[in-house]
Symmetry: C2
Subunit: 191 residues, 2 copies
């Protein structure tokens, strides 16, 4: 999507071959009008897939998931990173390990909000190694729901996340796909 | 705001005199159309106050802050709960202690995104003891910005948060103000 690629080129900061800072419009400061356009574009791609819920992982995915869910006219579900104090049989939980960050967290979903009747679109800001998306998939499968696809703002296409997901037959739609980057250099995959 | 009060009465769960669950439309599952209406109402109250940025605390405040910022046509800033690994002089930080939850966290703001030129509206989902809002105020003051006000979805008016804020001369606008609650009982303050 040219709008997002242009924004990344003008306002993103490529720190090295792995780190892209988008603090000024996605992660820390958020441009609401841009988020609405990005959410609409994700919704447009998945509009005929029978999506019943949009799920995201707190917290950077919330803004694009909300605008996407708003456009599709379905609820958004926030998969929670903090373990609930009131652990019970109504919660699905899974551990997500980020190898790049060297951290783990527990991802939680209440069984009330995603059920076997749901066809779920996962939306997140970044796709790199695919750990978060894979964790979200595990939770949604625990709920016996089906996966409509995965919508991503920025994909680091040189990392294995997309391959892990598409090899399971999942439709992954990323608005900007970075082929290669380095300090002050960003190259996108041409669609 | 009648729309939110009615939603709380129909879908909220008053567990006891202190705990209100709104998991099904605000915290865990989010109703995007409702969030747009709530954001518009907050924006409407503050529209003539010269707001330049809407700030919120991750993560339950992001949805109403985004729709409010979208309506006002200004950026949204997400105050981050996790300490940044790259601590440096460009970050403002403060510790927020939640006495009810018995937890503390570090709230972080990059100095790039709120400056002395900003007039900031803080938006959050709940106001109870006011610890989170007070932490947000501290960060915004560290940035030498001024406060346009505080917009809240649900205020537990029987707790001291509002008084702590209004006693500093801050305009606090809450869409639903709970006077009293108990198991399966909720009473609002009539405006």
């Amino acid at each position: 999507m040219k709008l997002l690629e242009d924004k990344i080129l003008s306002d993103g900061i490529a720190v090295n071959e792995n780190i892209l800072r988008v603090d000024s419009f996605i992660n820390h400061q958020v441009d609401p009008a841009l988020m609405m356009e990005l959410g609409k574009e994700l919704a447009s791609h998945f509009k005929d897939k029978g999506v019943t819920k949009v799920a995201t992982i707190e917290s950077s995915g919330i803004a694009p998931a909300l605008t996407c869910a708003m456009t599709l006219g379905v609820p958004m579900i926030i998969l929670k990173k903090q373990p609930s104090k009131t652990l019970n049989s109504d919660l699905y939980q899974t551990i997500v390990t980020s190898y790049t960050k060297g951290t783990s967290y527990e991802l939680t979903l209440s069984s009330k909000y995603i059920t076997a009747d749901d066809h779920v679109l996962i939306v997140d800001d970044f796709l790199a190694n695919g750990e978060a998306a894979t964790g979200a998939l595990r939770l949604i499968r625990k709920a016996h729901a089906t996966i409509a696809g995965i919508g991503i703002l920025i994909e680091k296409s040189f990392q294995p996340g997309r391959e892990k997901l598409t090899s399971q037959g999942i439709d992954v739609y990323s608005l900007a796909r970075i082929k290669k980057m380095d300090k002050d250099y960003i190259e996108f995959i041409e669609e």
